[in-house]
C-alpha cells in the first residue's frame, strides 16, 4: 500500500500549500508586444539584483489587466504589461476587487511598420494609399464605390505595378487598434472618404455620425486582398516568405531583428527608425505601458526594485538594452523615473 501512502502525502502537501503564502517571485502577465522587453528586463534583473527572476507571461494586454484586477494577494499578479492604455472598465473592475492603487508606467514607444520580402520592390506608402488599397469602399468622383483595385499602380501611379496583398493583424491584437486609428482613419480622411461617409450617415447627431463614419473607415475589403493574421508576427513573416509580393504589418523591434528578411516601407516618405519615431516624424506608433499593483509593493519582495530597474537608463534609456532591441525611448523618461520613485498612483482617466 505504499502507493496509497504516497497519494495521501501528495494530497497533504497540496493542502499545506494552500495555507503557505509568501511568494518570492514577481508575477507579470499581459501584452505579447511588451513580453520581449519584459523578459529582457526580468533576465537582467534576476542576474544583477538579489531577487529571483520574475515570472513573465504573455496572453494579451486586456487579459493581463483583467488578471491584475482580480484582487490583492499572493495569488494575483503584480504587474500587467499593456500595449494600450488601461480602460475605465478595467479600473472599475479593479476597484470592485479592492485593487485601488495602480501605478501607470509608460516606458517607451513601439513603432508599427509595413514590410515586405527583402528582395521585393521598394514601397513608399501613405495612409491614403493603404486605405485605397484595402478599404472596403473608396471615394470616386464624390461617391463611395466598392474597392476593386488589384494593383498598387492603380492606387497610386508612383507605386510598383504589383498585385495588392496585405497581412494585417487580427482584431484581437493591440496593433490592429493603432493600425485602424493611425493608418486607416488618417487615410480615410485624406482621400475624402470620411467626409462622404459622414455626410451619408443617418446618425442622430454629429457624434453618432462621426462614430459611424469611423466605423466604415476601418472596414476592410473581404475579397482576400487583405488577410487578417490572428497569430504572432512570426506567422506574418512565414506568410510573406511564402507569398513574396505581400506586405505585412510588424512591430519595429520584430522587423529590426529580421532585417535580413524584411524590407521596410516608408510612410509619408519617412523611414521608421527609433529616431524618427521618437521625434514624431513617423506617424504610426503607440506608447507601451505596464501597470503596477501598488498594494503589493513591500509585500512581494523586489517589486519596486523591478519597476525602478525597468525604467532605469540602462534599460529604457536612449542607450539602454531595450532600445538596442527595438524599443523607441520615451523622451519623458525622467518624469516616469521620478513618478516611480515617489510611487505615484495614477489618477482618473481624462
Amino acid at each position: 500500500m505504499t502507493s496509497l501512502k504516497l497519494t495521501a502525502s501528495v494530497l497533504a502537501l497540496a493542502a499545506a500549500a494552500t495555507a503557505a503564502d509568501a511568494r518570492d517571485q514577481l508575477q507579470i502577465a499581459g501584452s505579447s508586444t511588451v513580453l520581449p522587453y519584459a523578459t529582457i528586463v526580468a533576465e537582467a534583473f534576476g542576474e544583477n539584483a538579489d531577487f529571483p527572476t520574475p515570472v513573465v507571461e504573455g496572453g494579451g494586454s486586456g487579459a493581463g489587466r483583467k488578471k491584475m484586477c482580480e484582487g490583492v494577494g499572493e495569488n494575483t499578479i503584480d504587474v500587467a504589461n499593456s500595449s494600450s492604455r488601461i480602460k475605465q472598465s478595467d479600473i472599475d473592475l479593479c476597484k470592485e476587487n479592492g485593487v485601488t492603487d495602480i501605478m501607470e508606467v509608460r516606458f517607451g514607444y513601439d513603432g508599427i511598420v509595413f514590410a515586405s520580402d527583402i528582395d521585393g520592390a521598394d514601397f513608399a506608402l501613405t495612409p491614403a494609399d493603404i486605405y485605397n488599397a484595402i478599404g472596403a469602399e473608396v471615394a470616386k468622383d464624390g461617391a463611395m464605390v466598392a474597392n476593386t483595385a488589384k494593383n498598387w499602380a492603380e492606387v497610386n501611379a508612383s507605386l510598383p505595378a504589383q498585385e495588392i496583398a496585405m497581412f494585417v493583424p487580427g482584431t484581437k491584437h493591440g496593433t490592429r487598434e493603432v493600425f485602424d486609428v493611425k493608418v486607416l482613419e488618417e487615410g480615410c480622411k485624406a482621400t475624402g472618404a470620411y467626409d462622404i461617409f459622414f455626410a451619408a450617415s443617418a446618425g442622430a447627431d454629429d457624434d453618432a455620425k462621426k462614430k459611424e463614419a469611423v466605423e466604415k473607415c476601418v472596414t476592410l475589403r473581404t475579397d482576400g486582398v487583405s488577410v487578417d493574421i490572428d497569430g504572432d508576427y512570426t506567422e506574418t513573416l512565414a506568410r510573406i516568405e511564402a507569398n513574396k509580393i505581400a506586405i505585412g504589418v510588424f512591430g519595429l523591434s520584430f522587423s529590426e531583428n529580421n532585417t535580413d528578411k524584411l524590407k521596410v516601407a516608408t510612410i509619408n516618405g519617412v523611414v521608421p527608425t527609433v529616431e524618427t519615431i521618437s521625434v514624431g516624424d513617423y506617424p504610426v506608433s503607440r506608447p507601451l505601458y505596464f501597470y503596477v499593483k501598488k498594494q503589493h509593493i513591500g509585500v512581494v519582495p523586489g517589486l519596486k526594485e523591478y519597476v525602478e530597474f525597468f525604467v532605469s537608463d540602462e534599460m529604457s534609456g536612449p542607450d539602454g538594452a531595450l532600445v538596442e532591441y527595438g524599443l523607441v525611448p520615451d523622451p519623458a523618461l525622467a518624469e516616469t523615473q521620478a513618478a516611480v520613485a515617489a510611487e505615484t498612483v495614477m489618477g482618473p482617466l481624462e
Partner: protein, 433 residues
C-alpha cells in the same frame, strides 16, 4: 459465355479489377502517410539538428580590479553592485586582446563589435563565477564564452555575409573575424550540453536558451501524474471490473469514462484554472497544478486499457482461485492483478506519453510563462516541454526557430523511449490464453 477455367468471365475480371483497385488505394494511402511522416521528420530534424551544436570561444579574460572592485577589500555587498555590463566589457576587452595577440586583422571593428560577438549570457556566468570566488579579481583567467546568436547562426547557415550587411546585430567584419578565430582555434563548435541544462533566455540571447527548466517541469508533472493516476486508475478499474454490481449506475459511469477520454484537453485546462488556481488557490505556473490537471486528463485514458487488461484475464483463473478458498480480495490481488499488470503498465505508459506531449491545458494555467530560476519543488514556477516549443515559435529572433525544432526532437525522443518501453513490457510479459 465460356466455361473454361483459363479464360475469365466478365464478372471474375470485374471482381479482380475491384480488388486491384482496392489494393492500389491502400498502397497509395500508406505511401502518402509515410511521405507525410518523412517530410515532417526531415523538416524538423533539418531545422532542429543545429540546436545541438553551438559555437564557443575560449580566451583569457583579465578581471581588472579597477572595474570590479574599485576600493579593494572584496566586500561581497559592494561586489554584487557591479552589474553584468562591466563584466561584458571585460569579456570584449579579452577577446580583442586575444585577436591582437594572434595578429588577426581587426580593421573596422570597434570594441562594441567585439562585445556583439559574445553572448550576454556569458557576462552573467562570469559574474557568478567571480562572486563565488572573489580571489579571482586581479587575475587573468581562461574563460569559455558562448558566441552570440548571429556568429553561431553563421556556422549553421542561418546568417550569411550577405544578410549580415543589413543586420544591425552583426556585421561582415565580425563574421570574418569569427572565421579567423576559428582557424586559430579560439572559436570552436561543440556539442551543446547547455541546451539540456540551461533555462530559457530572453529574445536578446537565443544562443543561451535551453530546455533545463522545461525538462525539470515536465519531469515533476509526470511524477505527479504517475503517483496519482496509477493508484486511482487501477483502484477504479478493479472496483468497476471485479466488484461493482452491473446496474444502470455502473453503465452510466462506464459511458462517462469513455466520454471523458474523448473530451478535448483544453477543457481540463479551464477546469484546472477555475478549481485548482481560482478556488483552491494553488500558485500559477506551478507543476503541482499542471500535474493535477494532466492527472485528470489521463485518468480515463488509463482506466479504459486497465479494464481491458483485467477483462482479458480468463474467468477460469478467478474461478480456480475462489474454488481453492481465496477471498475475492485475494483473488484480485494475488491472481488477476499480477496477470493483468503488463497490460496495465502499457496503458499507463501510453497515457503518460500523451500527458507529456500535451500543451493546451497548460497554456491556461500559466505554464507558458518565462521562467529563469529552476523550480525547487512542485509549487515553484516551471515550464513544460511542449509549451516551451510553443513559446519559442512565437519569438522574434530567428535563432529561436532552431531551438523550437530542437525541443521538438527532444520531446520526440522522450516519447519514443516511453513507447518503446511500453512495447518491450508488452512483448516480454504479456500472456495469451
Amino acid at each position: 459465355m465460356s466455361s473454361s477455367l483459363f479464360t475469365q468471365d466478365a464478372r471474375t475480371t470485374a471482381r479482380n479489377a475491384a480488388e486491384r483497385r482496392f489494393r492500389a488505394c491502400g498502397l497509395a494511402a500508406i505511401v502518402l502517410a509515410l511521405a507525410a511522416l518523412v517530410w515532417l521528420l526531415i523538416s524538423i530534424f533539418s531545422a532542429g539538428a543545429p540546436a545541438f551544436r553551438q559555437a564557443f570561444m575560449t580566451f583569457p579574460v583579465t578581471l581588472d580590479e579597477k572595474a570590479l572592485d574599485k576600493e579593494g577589500g572584496r566586500d561581497p555587498a559592494k561586489l554584487s553592485k557591479v552589474t553584468t555590463v562591466s563584466y561584458a566589457k571585460l569579456l570584449a576587452l579579452g577577446l580583442k586582446a586575444k585577436a591582437e595577440d594572434l595578429g588577426l586583422e581587426t580593421t573596422g571593428m570597434k570594441s562594441k563589435d567585439f562585445a556583439k560577438m559574445i553572448s550576454e549570457e556569458s557576462a552573467a556566468s562570469l559574474r557568478d563565477r567571480v562572486l563565488a570566488d572573489p580571489t579571482l579579481i586581479g587575475q587573468t583567467i581562461e574563460f569559455t564564452v558562448l558566441a552570440s546568436g548571429r556568429v553561431d547562426g553563421y556556422y549553421k547557415g542561418r546568417v550569411t555575409m550577405k544578410t549580415a550587411v543589413k543586420d544591425k546585430n552583426t556585421s561582415p567584419e565580425q563574421l570574418a573575424l569569427a572565421d579567423k578565430l576559428r582557424a586559430a582555434g579560439v572559436l570552436d563548435i561543440r556539442f551543446n550540453w547547455g541546451f539540456f541544462t540551461m533555462p530559457d533566455a530572453s529574445d536578446k540571447r537565443p544562443e543561451a536558451a535551453g530546455l533545463g527548466i522545461a525538462i525539470v517541469g515536465s519531469f515533476l508533472m509526470m511524477a505527479l501524474v504517475l503517483v496519482l493516476s496509477l493508484p486511482i486508475g487501477v483502484a477504479a478499474s478493479v472496483y468497476l471490473e471485479e466488484f461493482a454490481p452491473k446496474n444502470r449506475w455502473t453503465d452510466l459511469i462506464e459511458v462517462n469514462i469513455s466520454n471523458l477520454a474523448a473530451v478535448p484537453s483544453i477543457v481540463y485546462g479551464i477546469l484546472g484554472l477555475s478549481i485548482f488556481i481560482n478556488f483552491v488557490g494553488l500558485p500559477q505556473s506551478a507543476p503541482i497544478v499542471g500535474g493535477l490537471v494532466l492527472t485528470l486528463m489521463t485518468l480515463p485514458r488509463i482506466i479504459i486499457p486497465t479494464r481491458a487488461a483485467l477483462k482479458a484475464v480468463p474467468p477460469s483463473i478467478r474461478d480456480a482461485a475462489l474454488g481453492v478458498g481465496a477471498s475475492p480480495l485475494q483473488m484480485v490481488f494475488h491472481h488477476v492483478l499480477p496477470l493483468a499488470m503488463p497490460g496495465i503498465l502499457t496503458g499507463m505508459i501510453i497515457g503518460l506519453a500523451q500527458a507529456l506531449g500535451e500543451s493546451a491545458p497548460l497554456l491556461l494555467i500559466g505554464m507558458v510563462a518565462f521562467v529563469r530560476d529552476f523550480p525547487g519543488g512542485f509549487f515553484d514556477p516551471a515550464a513544460a516541454l511542449p509549451v516551451q516549443v510553443y513559446n519559442w515559435t512565437v519569438r522574434g529572433d530567428p535563432g529561436f526557430v532552431e531551438r523550437a525544432s530542437g525541443a521538438i526532437i527532444v520531446l520526440l525522443i522522450f516519447l519514443l523511449i516511453m513507447n518503446a518501453v511500453a512495447i518491450v513490457l508488452r512483448r516480454r510479459f504479456e500472456r495469451r490464453w
